[in-house]
């Protein structure tokens, strides 16, 4: 179980990192999305995945009765998903805008503002 999940996380990180290393700006955003999934899964697995029972208090009870899935990583990931949605949407629109303005999707053409002049 954990082995397979760990390999999945590893693959997601690999593909994500590979994509953010591309010069094409669209691939960069896809890479960011893949990295998001990798990170979310890592947090999820860190909270252990021992039970399919969600952390919801049953009818007539005052508190959760074990076993239940750890609610804390879930709360963290929920936040992360929403934030990363904001990030991805902004990035997509930014790319669109950048492309419209500059006519290029090559990151190497977009780095001139912080290039140091030769001494």
């Amino acid at each position: 179980m954990y082995l397979l999940l760990s390999i999945l996380i590893g693959v997601l990180f690999t593909t994500g990192i590979y994509m953010v290393l591309r010069r094409s700006i669209v691939k960069l955003v896809i890479g960011l999305a893949l990295l998001t999934h990798a990170a979310n899964l890592l947090i999820f697995v860190a909270g252990r995945v021992n039970t399919p029972i969600p952390p919801i208090i049953g009818k007539g009870e005052d508190s959760l009765i074990p076993p239940f899935a750890d609610p804390i990583p879930q709360a963290l990931i929920l936040t992360a998903i929403v934030i990363s949605f904001g990030l991805t949407s902004f990035a997509i629109v930014l790319i669109k805008r950048t492309y419209k303005q500059t006519g290029t999707e090559d990151l190497d053409d977009l780095n001139t503002t912080d290039k140091i002049e030769k001494l």
Binding site: L4, S6, I7, T15, L21, A46, V49, T51, L78
Partner: protein
């Protein structure tokens, strides 16, 4: 004491206002600040004249033994009087000199700021207080030297002075810390009492050298002398104030101040004598090769500073008295000289001693005061400088170091200096008339300061007794700690010192008389190994190194930053992994079942395909598959909230992507094969490491306390059954508010980007 420091600093901050509203007389008004400080010092002279001192202490950093401690004894008083009196005179002179420049308000600000800092240096009784004021003098002198900041030379000189003196300042600070390590105190009074502890410590040598480095850079000793001639780019009053009377003497002051703590060891005496002698002779020798009036003065000042260091190095009561007296007499004639050079420069537009001549006919008063200063410089009686020359000759004859080399060096440099004095003070005024305009009108505030200083050098004749008893002897006593019975007299009898004085006059006059034969102007001193060249070389090397390392670390390409970060992370985490047995091999490694196998493999394949897909649409769809797959994982492991959110968000992302996709560029294949392979390797290594990290994380023991808390109290405290929701909107509601804000800002940003129109 605190009062006068605050007074001068408040004068500094009021200066721009005063200049603005009292433009024409602002120099006079501002002179009142240092002048009242001067009066205050005179008023308190009784306390120090009999060898006493007064202190004021304020708690500052008690735990570090650092207090603001003002300590005024004879030595502080002498320097304090010079600083405040000169401050006043310079302000008055500036009233005329700075008339036509921009930014004079700022000039006055820094001038008084400097005066306050310098005063702080000489009355500090705590090494840290002293250091702070010391740095403030460097700092304010940067602005004063660079006043004409539109000139490149001026900026260069200001930067050079700052770098050299601040380098020394750093060394000085380190030296003070060593002193603290040895004694556990920064308090001067304590240090003087325990000087044997300092001197017997193994750290003494290093502390001494660091402190000497600070003093030598500030006081322009060889090989750090080169900044001083360059600093002549400053306005004349700044040169007169900082570079003859006060700031360059801060190093000398420090040596005098610390002589009772660090002095009287062989290493102290020999270092000071060697450096002082070298500086004295080289300064004088270099001065004769100059044509520029201010450069001549700068090099002779270096020589004078060398003499002072030499005298402190000799370390006898006689030598200390000579040094103290020389501080005063040098300030008088050199200050006057610099101010007169300013007047000549201003009126004739030239500082070239070769071409200036016959100025007596155009500015007789200036000529008289200049000649007085030159005679004082040369050490003729009855000027006060005569006594200090006599005393220094006597002191140089009476030491066990360097056999008779010291008087010979002293004689040689005095002869050369006298030549320079005559050249700078006499030559421009005598001789044939040049084709200048009518008589120059020289305003009262222009001539007042040089007149007073020149006359002061001769007027002191009538007050030798008072001066000796109240100022010179108490100051010398602060250095030597016991009363020194050196009387200031004009006639010590027909002795060797007197013969040396006569030789000086003869030699100086001889050089001056036959100057056309010697043609000193032609001597070139600067060579490839000159310290100023080394400074330039070091500075450009530092720039080059930082440029190169910036080129490597700040390539400007996103992927290289990421590669550096990821590689660094991989290497460090891998090191930890290799070191320890961090994976618990008894974990549940079973595969859950065929469905999960299919799901996981599906996600992996989609992710990998997304990276190699050539079409944008299929990449986006594959990304969506990954997202939905992850959502299914959430469902399977008890996280329905996550799953719902993930499904929604994933759908929205795909929709946005597709909506915008056709406005986006097609996937282009820019990277070459090699960089793809490189990136795959970097990414795979990182992926493998993350897999191991995940396994390592689940191998640790789970602490359920926090989870249990929420499990127990969600319903009881927050009336919610869905624990994840309760955490988000109740227990951690503020975090969620922050999150919503982030989303709102992102939405605004997106709206802005979409609506933005850029005018071409």
């Amino acid at each position: 004491m605190t009062f006068i420091i605050i007074l001068i600093f408040s004068g500094a901050f009021l200066a721009p206002l005063i200049y603005r509203y009292l433009n024409k007389i602002s120099g006079w008004v501002l002179a009142l600040f240092p002048l009242s400080a001067f009066v205050y010092l005179i008023y308190n002279i009784d306390i120090t004249s009999n060898g006493g001192h007064f202190t004021e202490e304020f708690l500052w950093f008690e735990s570090l033994n650092v207090n603001i401690l003002f300590y005024v004894d004879g030595l502080s008083l002498l320097f304090g009087m010079i600083i405040t009196l000169f401050g006043a005179l310079i302000a008055i002179y500036s009233n005329a000199y700075m008339k036509k420049y921009e930014g004079v308000g700022k000039y006055y600000l820094w001038l008084l700021f400097f005066a306050g800092s310098m005063l702080g240096v000489v009355i500090s009784g705590n090494l840290i207080t002293l250091f702070v004021f010391w740095e403030l003098t460097s700092f304010s002198s940067f602005f004063l030297i660079g006043f004409f900041n539109e000139k490149e030379k001026s900026r260069y000189a200001a930067m050079q002075a700052l770098l050299v003196t601040c380098l020394g300042g750093l060394a000085l600070f380190a030296g003070f810390i060593f002193i603290y390590i040895i004694t556990g105190s920064f308090d001067l009074r304590y240090l003087i009492l325990h000087s044997d502890v300092v001197k017997s410590s193994p750290l003494y040598t290093i502390a001494l050298f660091l402190i000497l480095l600070g003093a030598f850079t500030k006081s322009a000793q060889v090989p750090f002398h080169f900044w001083l001639p360059n600093a002549m780019e400053a306005p004349a009053p700044v040169s007169a104030y900082l570079h003859s009377a006060t700031m360059v003497k801060a190093g000398v002051f420090l040596l005098m101040r610390l002589a009772p703590v660090l002095g009287d060891t062989d290493i102290w005496n020999i270092t000071l004598i060697s450096v002082g002698m070298t500086t004295m002779l080289l300064g004088a020798a270099m001065s004769v090769a100059q044509k520029d009036l201010k450069k001549i003065l700068a090099y002779t000042t270096i020589s004078a500073l060398g003499t002072l260091v030499l005298l402190i190095g000799i370390g006898t009561p006689l030598a200390y008295s000579a040094a103290v007296l020389f501080v005063l007499s040098h300030a008088l004639y050199k200050g006057s000289f610099f101010l007169i050079a300013g007047i000549v420069d201003k009126k004739t537009g030239s500082r070239d001693v070769e071409s200036l001549s016959g100025l007596y006919h155009y500015m007789p008063a200036v000529a008289v005061f200049s000649i007085l200063a030159a005679l004082s410089f040369s050490g003729f009686p009855p000027f006060i400088n005569f006594i200090s020359k006599e005393l220094s000759y006597k002191a140089s004859l009476d030491t066990q170091f360097y056999f008779i080399l010291i008087p010979i060096f002293l004689l040689a440099s005095n002869i050369l200096s006298m030549y320079s004095a005559l050249l700078a003070g006499l030559k421009p005024y005598l001789g044939i008339k040049s084709e200048y305009k009518e008589k120059y009108k020289i305003s009262f505030s222009f001539i007042l300061a040089p007149a007073l200083l020149s006359l002061g050098g001769i007027a002191a004749v009538f007050f030798t007794g008072i001066l000796d008893a109240n100022v010179i002897s108490p100051a010398a006593k602060s250095i030597f700690l016991v009363n020194t019975a050196v009387e200031m007299k004009y006639w010590y009898g027909f002795n060797t010192a007197f013969i040396l004085s006569l030789l000086t006059f003869a030699g100086g006059y001889f050089l001056y008389r036959y100057r056309d034969t010697f043609k000193f102007y032609n001597i070139v001193f600067v060579n490839r190994l000159a310290p100023s060249r080394i400074y330039d070389y070091l500075l450009s090397s530092i720039k080059l190194i930082s440029f190169r390392q910036t080129r490597i670390l700040q390539s400007g390409y996103l992927r290289y930053y990421i590669i550096i970060i990821i590689s660094f992370l991989s290497v460090t985490v891998a090191a930890v992994i290799i070191q320890g047995n961090i994976i618990n091999l008894t974990l549940d490694f079973r595969f859950e079942g065929i469905y999960e196998m299919v799901l996981f493999t599906g996600i992996m394949f989609s992710a990998i395909l997304a990276t190699i897909s050539k079409s944008r649409l299929s990449a986006v769809v594959l990304l969506g598959v990954v997202g939905y797959g992850v959502a299914v994982i959430f469902v399977l492991h008890g996280a329905p909230d996550l799953a719902i959110t993930q499904f929604t968000i994933e759908t929205l992302t795909v929709i946005i992507f597709v909506l915008i996709l056709y406005r986006l560029p097609k996937f282009s294949n820019i990277s070459d094969r090699n960089s793809k392979i490189r990136d795959w390797i970097i990414a795979s290594v990182f992926g493998i490491i993350m897999t191991i990290v995940t396994l390592a994380v689940v191998s640790t023991e789970m602490k359920p306390e926090t989870a249990n808390y929420y499990a127990e109290f969600s319903k009881l405290l927050a009336n919610g059954k869905n624990v994840v929701n309760v955490i988000l909107v109740d227990f951690r509601a503020l975090d969620t508010l922050g999150e919503i804000t982030v989303l709102a800002v992102a939405a605004l940003g997106i709206y802005g980007l979409l609506k933005l129109t850029v005018k071409k």
